[in-house]
Symmetry: C2
């Protein structure tokens, strides 16, 4: 039946399933995640995503964007549920009720799907804990044209309601994946430069250190070799305004509390420090990432 289903009970089985998606284990089991709000769900569809399940409030069923979402969802074999604002609000963690909520299937993405030479800037975050920071960083990646947000180690889940909400829809436009540090490094250092110039071996650490020591600044390195830039208050760090950002540059942020571990810093081509003029010795990680991404964008433009 290609028409919306009317749901009048908050204990409806499908609604229960959708409610369970606030927990990571159910997101995995159901292979679904939630996005709230007409604007975000519409932006998702504009970016080529289609809801598997769409829920909308009766009062909004004649809204042109809601009608379009219903048609899209049903046409692609998904389900559209019409319900009351009260029942809809039981699905949302947000105070202000939404007119629309949708469950999407995640798209598995791995490093092998990404070409480091396909974008001039990238964002990498290690053990990022706060889903709000994660979503904000996705939004900044979108604005600065970053190739992806690569999450390392035990970072927050980008599919959580909080992360999707904070991303304001940028999850649907910015590639995002979670991987481990050794796998990321291997991918970064093994990927041949573009245009491809044949097989390229992995540098051993000593050789790389010598090469880096010879680097004077922008352009001193082969322009298309990926550059890893760690954000760190470190004696070896240079001011972020004096750091080169050759394309492609990978900006690496450490965990909110602990910053970048020593071995992660050691593996970076450059360490970049931001001025801290105040009494506090730290910045919000999403703030620091944005300042560095915008600096890279300004230098590369």
């Amino acid at each position: 039946m290609v028409s919306p289903e009317l749901v009048t009970s908050a204990s409806n089985t499908t609604l229960k399933r959708l409610r369970s998606l606030s927990q990571k284990k159910y997101r995995r089991a159901e292979n679904l995640f939630l996005a709230e709000g007409l604007r975000i769900v519409t932006e998702a569809t504009e970016a080529g995503w289609t809801p598997r399940i769409l829920v909308f409030a009766t009062a909004h069923r004649d809204h042109p964007l809601v009608r379009r979402l219903v048609q899209l969802t049903l046409h692609a074999g998904g389900r559209a549920l019409e319900t009351t604002p009260d029942i809809l609000s039981t699905l949302s963690g947000k105070d202000n009720p939404q007119s629309v909520l949708a469950a999407f299937e995640p798209r598995p993405l791995s490093l092998a799907d990404l070409d480091p030479h396909s974008a001039p800037r990238w964002l990498v975050a290690q053990s990022l804990k706060d889903p709000g920071n994660l979503g904000t960083m996705l939004r900044t990646c979108d604005a600065t044209g970053a190739g992806a947000l690569i999450l390392l180690d035990d970072s927050a889940d980008p599919l959580s309601v909080e992360a999707i909400r904070a991303s304001m829809g940028a999850y649907f436009t910015v590639p995002c994946l979670t991987t481990k540090w050794p796998d990321f490094l291997t991918w970064l250092r093994h990927t041949p430069p573009a245009p491809r110039s044949g097989e390229r071996g992995v540098e051993d650490n000593a050789k790389r250190q010598r090469r880096l020591a010879q680097r004077a600044g922008v352009g001193a390195s082969p322009p298309s070799s990926p550059t890893l830039i760690g954000a760190a208050l470190d004696p070896r760090a240079r001011p972020y305004t004096h750091t080169p950002y050759p394309a492609p540059s990978f900006i690496l942020m450490g965990n909110e509390q602990a910053g970048l571990p020593a071995d992660y810093r050691d593996a970076c081509d450059y360490l970049a420090a931001m001025p801290m003029l105040g009494k506090a010795d730290s910045l919000n990680v999403a703030i620091a990432a944005a300042v560095l991404l915008y600096q890279a964008l300004a230098v590369q433009s």
Copy 2:
């Protein structure tokens, strides 16, 4: 009695008072606001603030920093309450229990207390709604050496638990006040430049428009006349990297949803736009403010 009081009941009258401080009306009535966590409360005391009421968990009473806080509080005539972690957690909105929580008296601050020439950069936010953004902006003001965060119109309360928490203690180091747009403009435009060169009249709007039209770039204006720079995607805006930031520069951010109203834009000396390369047409307001403040810092350094 100059020693901590032991509190064993969650319904203790003082604890009830402290709990009520999650609401703005009780913060006003009690003339108190809450800060959570040993780190933030310690930073507050280092910045010259003393708790009126300090609550700490028994398990932490021998911690040197906690003992110091207790002494400071009692010595200044405040109260120190020792209690259980469970009771302490009833005071906090945070998931992870804190060892310490303190109530401070706000310090009323008005524009008359601020000298626009006392700092090269300032942050102004209009109708800022999210306390998390507010706290993050305070933290960025601290890091970039901004003179104050000036909140316009119906902005969020900087004394809310969420704002203080997101500021990570920066509330105690960065002057913050709430005022109205006309009062702010009068203060900004009437304040004589430093060094003082006698009485200075208010420009009428037409005169100011002519002067602004003549401005070619950095240095074209008297260096010490406050410059108001609005963040806006506006046809008149120039790229933020090509905007001058003469000291003192006031960076003006609009509301999270609506941006800067037209008349606020019209009153700015410059409008600054940030590149938006993605599908979304907006950035998180705290992110945008940080990129502009760091740009001002870089240009002014």
